[in-house]
Structures are given as C-alpha cells and as structure tokens.
C-alpha cells in the first residue's frame, strides 16, 4: 500500500497536533490530583517563595545575624556585598582621622602664635607671673 507524501512542515504539524492533544489530556489530570498532594505542593511553593524573598534580601543588603548573643554584620553577597558597607565605613574613619589631625595642627599653630607673640613682645614673659601686673590687666579689661 503506497503512503501519501507529506512535506516536512506537514509532518511537523501533525506531530505538534498529536503532542498538544496528549498534553491536553495530561492537563486534565492536574485538578484530579489527591487533595493532600495538592496541599503539600502548595506548601512547598509557599516555602520556596519565602526562601526566595530571603535570598533576594541577602543579595542586596547585608543581614544582621545573631551569633552567640552578639550581633555581627554578615555579608550575604561575597566581596561586593562586604565592600558595600566596608567602603563607607573606611571613608568615615579616614574622614574622622583627617578632621582630628587638622584640629590638632590648628591648635598647635595657635599655641605657636601665642608663644611667638610673647617672645617678640617688649614685655618680658616674667611680667605675666607678677601679681600686680595680672591685677592691672584685669582692671584694664573691665575698663
């Protein structure tokens, strides 16, 4: 018996049709799954979604993990996760050190200016230890 000739596209179309018909039957079986199986699958999905939320949170923000009663920062995203909070911390520390150093220099400079004024003044430094002169200065300031 001779078989009818069909193009590749026609053959493919027939195969797809057959596959779709089988798939439709298989779809019909899904609602008929036992109730307990359906509930367990639903619980698994809920659990997985909760885990995904945690995974996303960990990926984009370091989590505070309780370990042995003390809080420690725990990076959840490798090098870049740690860098995300270490770099600002480092910048803050360097800034504070810089400000402290600058203030120290300014104070030293002010003291040096006072010393220079004292040493270059016509008044001898020993005059400032004289009680009479100190009294004179107080009176002068009040006036």
């Amino acid at each position: 018996m001779s078989r009818p000739f069909r193009s590749v596209a026609a053959s493919q179309h027939l195969m797809n049709q057959f596959g779709s018909r089988v798939a439709n039957h298989l779809d019909d079986a899904l609602p008929a799954l036992p109730r307990d199986i359906g509930e367990r699958l639903r619980a698994v999905r809920v659990q997985a979604l909760a885990k995904r939320r945690i995974s996303i949170t960990e990926a984009f923000a370091p989590a505070v993990v309780q370990q042995g009663g003390s809080s420690v920062l725990h990076g959840g995203f490798g090098f870049w996760g740690r860098a995300a909070y270490l770099i600002p911390l480092l910048a803050l520390t360097l800034g504070l050190l810089g400000i402290g150093n600058l203030q120290e220099q300014l104070r030293a400079s002010e003291i040096a200016d006072v010393d220079a004024e004292l040493l270059t003044s016509d008044l001898p430094p020993s005059a400032y230890t004289d009680p009479g002169f100190a009294q004179y200065l107080k009176v002068d300031i009040k006036n």
Binding site: L26, D27, L41
Partner: protein, 178 residues
C-alpha cells in the same frame, strides 16, 4: 511558579513512579531554585526550574544505585533504535472530532484515556519522555528543551519523534485514537 509544581510533580512521578519520591524531587528542586537563583529575574525562573528538576530527577536515580527495573530505564537516556516500519504520520491523523471529548457523557472514557496515556508515557524511555513532556506539556521550544536536557537540538527532535512514534503506536494498539 503557580501551577508549575503540579506538572513538575506529575513529570517526576512518571519517571520515579513513587509519590513520596516525586514530592521530594519537586521540593528539592523548588528550594534549590529559591536558594541559588532567587535573585534572578522572574522570567528566567521557569527555565531554570526545568533544568533543576531534570537534574534532581537524575540525582534521584543516581542515589538509588540499584539495578532495578526503574534504574534500567536510565539506560534509555542513551539513544536507542526503534523498530517497526509502520507509518507514524498515518497514526497521528485525528480520527475523532475533538469536541466529542468535551461531552460530559464521555468523562469516564476520558478518564480511561488519560490512564492509558499516563501508562504509555511511563513506558517511554526516560530521555524520550523528558523531551516529549518538556516540548509539548511544558510548551518549551527545541532550544529551551535542549538547554534543560543538556543535549543538542537534533537529539531533542529525535527524542520527540521517537516518543510520538512510540506513543501513537501504543495508544492505537490499545484502542485510543487521539
């Protein structure tokens, strides 16, 4: 992911033929997806899930480490030659009006048909079954199926062709005309 887990469960069940094991595989796959790929865009998740499910099923078989009948089926993951010289395409032509099946009076027939289809799907070699279910039930294209199965496009086409040939032949032999 809604609804995906039921198809995943049935797919695993066709492979392992044990409800508890199938549930374990689906749970394992979903948790792996959430844990390792949770930060990926939602559009990428279905494909990743299919790949993880396939690998988890393979892992299950590997864990069995026994030469029982089910594991022997894993040998089917290798290509096998299908005999027979019947005309596949003849068997694929629909013999019935598809709307006929929607008649409520045929519900019992449909249940019986479904049971036979499921039995015959379980009889398929594992790789053929996997390729067929991904292509036609999960509605994945050849490239996606190949990616999930870790094989070439040609292999997917071959597996699908052989699966359809075997299914249509077996169903006709049992009086099922889709």
């Amino acid at each position: 992911m809604r609804g995906v887990e039921k198809r995943a469960f049935k797919r695993s069940l066709y492979h392992v033929r044990n409800q508890e094991s199938a549930l374990d595989i689906v749970q394992d796959s979903m948790m792996k997806l959430a844990e390792h790929y949770g930060h990926k865009p939602a559009a990428e998740l279905p494909m990743l899930f299919q790949r993880i499910l396939t690998n988890s099923t393979l892992d299950w078989f590997r864990r069995q480490k026994t030469q029982n009948a089910l594991f022997t089926r894993m040998g089917d993951f290798e290509a096998s030659e299908d005999g027979g010289d019947f005309d596949l395409l003849e068997t694929l032509l629909p013999d019935r009006d598809p709307d006929q099946n929607e008649n409520p009076q045929n519900q019992a027939d449909r249940a019986q048909t479904l049971r036979v289809i499921e039995e015959e799907i379980q009889e398929l070699p594992a790789r053929q079954r996997e390729a067929f279910l991904m292509r036609y039930w999960e509605d994945m294209d050849v490239a996606e199926t190949a990616s999930a199965m870790g094989c070439s496009h040609g292999s997917v086409k071959t597996h699908c062709f052989r699966a359809i040939a075997a299914l249509s032949k077996a169903l006709r032999a049992r009086g099922i005309f889709l």
